[in-house]
Amino acid sequence: MDFTLSNEQRSWQMTARKFAEEEIRPISLERDEIADPRETFDWEIIKKGSKLGFRTLAVPKEWGGHGTDFVTQALVMAELAKADSAISKTFSQCWKWSHLIAAACSEEQKRRFLKPFLEDDTFLLGKGISEPSAGSDNRLPPDDPKAGLKLRAERHGDEWILNGEKCFIANASVGKLFFIDARTDPNAPLRQGTTMFLVPRDTPGFRIGKVFNKDGWRFYQNGEMIFENARVPHANVVGPVNGSDMKTQQAGDRTGGDLFGDLELAANALGVCDDACGMALTLARTKKQSCARS
């Protein structure tokens, strides 16, 4: 085994460290203190980070992205998270769904969606799976067709009409494009009756509800999504109808689309821990207590 970092990996790590220290850390606590969960977000930091490549670093090179490998992504994640776990997660949420685009979208869809994503510093991605009555059931689906997500999609000619509701969805209130899992066969179990759609923010009939008021990760926006006869073109169906699950599995994934999810969270937590330990060490080295020494 060889744990030596390549020059390119090192370079990403150093850029991330500098950005975290100079740009993220100074705003981290003040963003955290803002009481209204919708107001914690700050586009400036997203734009600055995007210009350095932190939004698009997981898009393959042939599509104009940075094509970094998983090791680089974990390194960058840990560095950014040292300064703010939630701001870094907002960036890496885009990596997660960049992976999904690369793995699951058709060439035509990649052309249509990756290009604007790459060009626009404020273009963020998300994926809506969870619903009020279905959380774990979408991750470990029981065979019963009644279990799991209920958001319904029905086909009318070249369009699909979506009705229902999602909750807890990351980047909901700030994203421009979402993967949405919807039930296309309510009589089949979840895995056999669900289709994945690409839903742009400005889709008619689609709006964002409340932003959840989390106790941590304040910057990170988790919102409700409401679909009232939302109309999505058939061209936005990802993979086969009733097969939302298939293509990521072909790519060796059993996590329901979170190709990168576990690695991402682990690296993020490592960054937080790293910084906490660093602060504790500094305190222990500098704070004087105990009369025995004085």
């Binding site: 009481a35 969870s130 009555s133 279905a134 959380g135 774990s136 059931d137 470990l140 029981p142 019963d144 279990a147 909750c167 807890f168 959840f212 008021n213 989390k214 106790d215 941590g216 988790n222 207590q289 105990s290 009369c291 025995a292 020494r293 004085s294």
Partner: protein, 408 residues
């Protein structure tokens, strides 16, 4: 004899307080706007009602006008109250315990005649102990086994001036500071001496700064108290000992009972939720993963309660140490370390039963996690507590605070 039968009176007061928490405290404490807020003002209304029920004077002897409850009963009541609101529980526990110490034990007849009647008639009359100082060394360190050369003094000083004292300095982490009428203040009096003085809130030069909910390290309307040349009459001199820590490590485990109440609130919430939330085709309590989690929570809380009740009973029966019924150990400190760690874990597990809802500010779970975390650091904190237990194991006797003082 160590007896775990609660008396009819104990059962009755537990039920009464439990009903009071369900009917009065919880509806106030669980209001969404209160859960979401970073600042949670003290529930004064509930506190007043509790005082009317006699919970402010629970430990005070019947002769002095209180209920004369023993320490175990006080702990039972504190657990119940804290399951509703830890701040209300902490303020009542503090006033009740101090009232017993002051009026039943430490005050002179003259002082009692002066302070007791107004205390009894005014339900909003609370007591607070101003002892802790921000950067004061806790007089204990890695050298716990070596004799100490000097006792770390308080920075707050009381200086004789004419027929009284002048107090200057500041204290922090004072439970009940924001509403106390009378402060029991610990101060240095020169040459290593320490005095305890009674300082009324309206003394000129005394000011209180409330600690924000987000930054405090203790439950119970905490605050900092500053003394800017406060003149205190000689008659308000109380003595030299700390009123509460007379028997180090064996005092009433009231903070631990409070901690237990927080754990129970989280546990009860998780137990209820696990029976109504359905995933995987059945209420999640029927999944072994959740069942085992709830079982672990129950184990931690029950064992913590056993340790706390034993320490409470021991503080009611100090002779049980002398006759070797109980081990020669600081049982309250032991209960504190075990309970705070076990309950913090239990509360975290309870929150996890809620999935994503467990981290939302409009749900109480995140509050329970914060509340339980404070208990890890309340008092001197667990790291120091372990060293104090080690002191006892090493049979180290800390030097008595240097003799005081011309005042008596």
């Amino acid at each position: 004899m160590y007896n775990l039968h609660l008396s009819p009176e104990q059962l009755q007061i537990r039920d009464t307080v439990r009903d009071f928490v369900v009917e009065v405290i919880k509806p106030l404490a669980l209001k969404p706007e209160r859960l979401e807020a970073r600042a949670r003002p003290l529930l004064v209304q509930a506190l007043d009602k509790a005082a009317e029920m006699g919970l402010r004077t629970l430990a005070l002897s019947e002769d002095c006008g209180g209920a004369g409850a023993d320490n175990l009963t006080c702990c039972i009541v504190t657990e119940e109250l804290a399951a509703g609101d830890p701040d209300v529980a902490a303020v009542l526990a503090q006033t009740s315990t101090l009232a017993q110490a002051l009026f039943d034990r430490l005050m002179t007849a003259e002082q009692r005649a002066r302070f007791l009647p107004p205390f009894l008639t005014d339900h909003r009359y609370h007591l607070a102990l101003a002892e802790h100082e921000a950067d004061r060394d806790a007089a204990l360190g890695i050298n716990y086994h070596r004799p100490q050369t000097s006792h770390a003094p308080f920075k707050t000083a009381a200086v004789r001036a004419g027929d009284g004292w002048v107090v200057s300095g500041s204290k922090d982490g004072v439970v009940g500071a924001s509403l106390a009428t009378l402060f029991v203040v610990r101060a240095s009096v020169g040459e290593g001496g320490i005095a305890t003085l009674l300082v009324p809130r309206d003394t000129p030069g005394l000011s209180v700064t409330e600690t924000g909910t987000a930054t405090r390290s203790r439950h119970g309307a905490c605050g900092a108290v500053a003394f800017d040349d406060c003149r205190v009459p000689a008659e308000n001199f109380l003595g030299v000992e700390s009123p509460l820590a007379a028997d180090a490590g064996r005092h009433i485990p009231q903070d631990q009972a409070l901690n237990l109440g927080i754990g129970r609130a989280a546990y009860e919430a998780a137990l209820d939720y696990a029976q109504v939330r359905t995933q995987g085709g059945r209420p999640i309590i029927e999944h072994q993963a959740i069942g085992a989690k709830l079982a672990e929570i129950a184990i931690r809380l029950e064992v913590a309660r056993a340790a706390i009740w034993q320490a409470a009973w021991a503080s009611d029966h100090p002779d049980a140490f002398a006759d070797r019924s109980l081990p020669d150990l600081p049982l309250t400190t032991i209960a504190a370390v075990f309970a705070s760690e076990a309950i913090y874990r239990a509360v975290k597990d309870a929150a996890e039963c809620f999935g994503a809802m467990g981290v939302m500010r409009d749900m109480p779970l995140q509050k329970y996690v914060h509340d339980a975390r404070i208990c890890l650091h309340a008092g001197a904190g667990n790291s120091e507590a372990k060293l104090r237990i080690a002191e006892a194991l090493a049979r180290y006797r800390r030097p008595a605070s240097a003799a005081v003082l011309a005042a008596e």
